[in-house]
Subunit: 424 residues, 2 copies
Amino acid sequence: MKLELICTGEEVLAGQIVDTNAAWFANTMMEQGIECQRKTTVGDRLSDLVEIFKERSLVADIILVNGGLGPTSDDLSSEAAAEALGEPLVENSQWRQRLEDWFTRNGRVMSPSNLKQALLPESAVMIDNPVGTACGFAVKLNRAWLFFTPGVPFEFKAMVKDQFIPFINERFDAGEVTQVTKLLTLGSGESALADKLQALTLPSGITLGYRSFMPYIEIKLFARGEAAIEQIEDTVQLLEAALGTAVVCRDCDSLAKAVHNQLVNSGLGLSVAESCTGGAITSGLVAFPGSSTYLHQGLVTYSNESKVKVLGVKPETLDDQGAVSIAVVEQMASGARNILGSDFALATSGIAGPEGGSDAKPVGTVAIALATKSAVYSQMLKFPSRSRDLVRSMSTAVAYDMLRRELAQQAVIVDYPSAKRFAK
Amino acid sequence: MKLELICTGEEVLAGQIVDTNAAWFANTMMEQGIECQRKTTVGDRLSDLVEIFKERSLVADIILVNGGLGPTSDDLSSEAAAEALGEPLVENSQWRQRLEDWFTRNGRVMSPSNLKQALLPESAVMIDNPVGTACGFAVKLNRAWLFFTPGVPFEFKAMVKDQFIPFINERFDAGEVTQVTKLLTLGSGESALADKLQALTLPSGITLGYRSFMPYIEIKLFARGEAAIEQIEDTVQLLEAALGTAVVCRDCDSLAKAVHNQLVNSGLGLSVAESCTGGAITSGLVAFPGSSTYLHQGLVTYSNESKVKVLGVKPETLDDQGAVSIAVVEQMASGARNILGSDFALATSGIAGPEGGSDAKPVGTVAIALATKSAVYSQMLKFPSRSRDLVRSMSTAVAYDMLRRELAQQAVIVDYPSAKRFAK
């Protein structure tokens, strides 16, 4: 079975919403053992849409089309499908009724442009959308089924899970059993990781992929077939032995999520005091429901006055050592922990750039501390100073990793090859 | 001239890095008056790459290929180009020397896999990359030039600006003069905006596009040709009159950036006290260099104890009114402002969900306040509670908008059609 994806709309060429759909879709299909072999994105021109539907329907068995089902004049998927099929558009009375009910139930007036969303090609099979105003539909063109889905991510995801996957399972043989295991790494570059892993001999049926989302690199281990799946645990151990402390978690969506889960399970409380990371440590945890059970406060003490008044940092330490120093960041962590007697406090202070560096403390220098009830751990690192975002995201990642290691009862401070450590 | 984009790599089908490249590329070309007519993404299989290069080179005049120039074994763009051309790969001695110099200069040891990055198809024109280890290259296949670029975003952007655009300007006629103007809107849905704008008569040569990145919808006004460009100002006024307070800024990358610029120019200082937004207001401002000139502190007082101890919220107000209330959020704003005598303070307190709602204050209820030296403005809104992220991002947007309006000397509190306001 040959599966392809077509994303439509000028806003896709220029935006990002559907791109997350595409990534999510490829991953979801991969977990079903089905590879998406090509993704094509075209704009809003009717002729471009008709052309791509005709062209790809000669090659693929099933094509998921995303987007272009909205109420506005640049939403043309339904019209293009009708033209490719040589059919008229026909109002689907069932969906028109659903639209009218939906607006009534939500106490809103249906805008005239929403009516367009009930027009489908004559031969189309309507696909229900319980969570939005755009129904999906499927049509057979040449050798392919074209399956049309809305662009809004949560509507799209619901339709793929609840309707697209059953649709293909009914019509096509299931793919080979596939399992994906992910190792998240921090602090080593892609080529350094690849050099270490290329030296290993992997079992047949297991392949590796890399996905870089700075400052992390995720290593994906694809196992295809029952025999390969049985080898996953041994292979993960082989990889972990080769990579050492670079691996920060397994099958976690992010390091923030891993730390969140540890904190929820521990029942312990956290305060955060941030300077250069500007709230990113706190914000990354608050993203998860349940963070209120452990997160006491996150204090972004950006000015020196705030460090003194809110956290109790000593003015003379700021004068003597500067805000970016081991001494100040340790006082920030202790101060943040003491306000509410939290079990842990993380603190950061650094120079994210592009201005503010000196010879002794260049842009990219960041001091990071973890205060616990019995100790304060700290380190000052020099990160690659390519961008302000990168310095902030690496600082955030190292802070999370220190807490993760403490919670896992491992050494709190380890080496990150891509960062240089200052002597204490 | 027919321009297409090909993105390569399994990590693209499953990741997001190159997707931002694609959006940036389409925008950058559009500003040159050139539309990118199709974007295709394929995986890492050599045969898929060879096939797509052959296929699209029969149709397009120029194809930008992004990714697959890295040092790892799944980086196959160069090999695939050579196979499509029926040529061998040849080591480019100039680039090999550059690689060796680059690693020496950065005090790093060149890993063996980096050597692969100097292998190019025999007929390739090498394209310099002053900021990375992957050189680009261009080859002529069938009717098309294929121009290969690295996937790392800042390397890619530098190469497009400094080398790709001059490359096409030398070889092809420039497109029609095009200008893009953007209006960022907040608080109205896409269909509501579209209904208002479809009623307007636009000058010939001006078209509208929509790009939704929740909670914002950006309206793009494309003007093609000199005559249309002269009509831009009048058209923007027409749109602004139709959309009223929904328009929050023009040609700004984001509302956070607009507020950042206002604050830098004003010379005034800001403190932030956040609960449900969890640091997103602060973090969104810290993202910009220069934020340290106005941002005093951002206090994420997530627990009630922290609201009392850090901000001086009265325990009896928390008991009587609850943490999510006009009274508490006003005390949070005033308290945050008073610590350092800041000119402004923003505060939020709400129920982001999915748990924690009640009949009186359901999930999505958020209280937001702005304290100035002379007044405290506050409102309690009910946002659509579809997701925790959406509630947080809408709350953050409204807080920014309140401060933006205050700094622009406009009424601080206005209606947002997609949110319901609680009576005070």
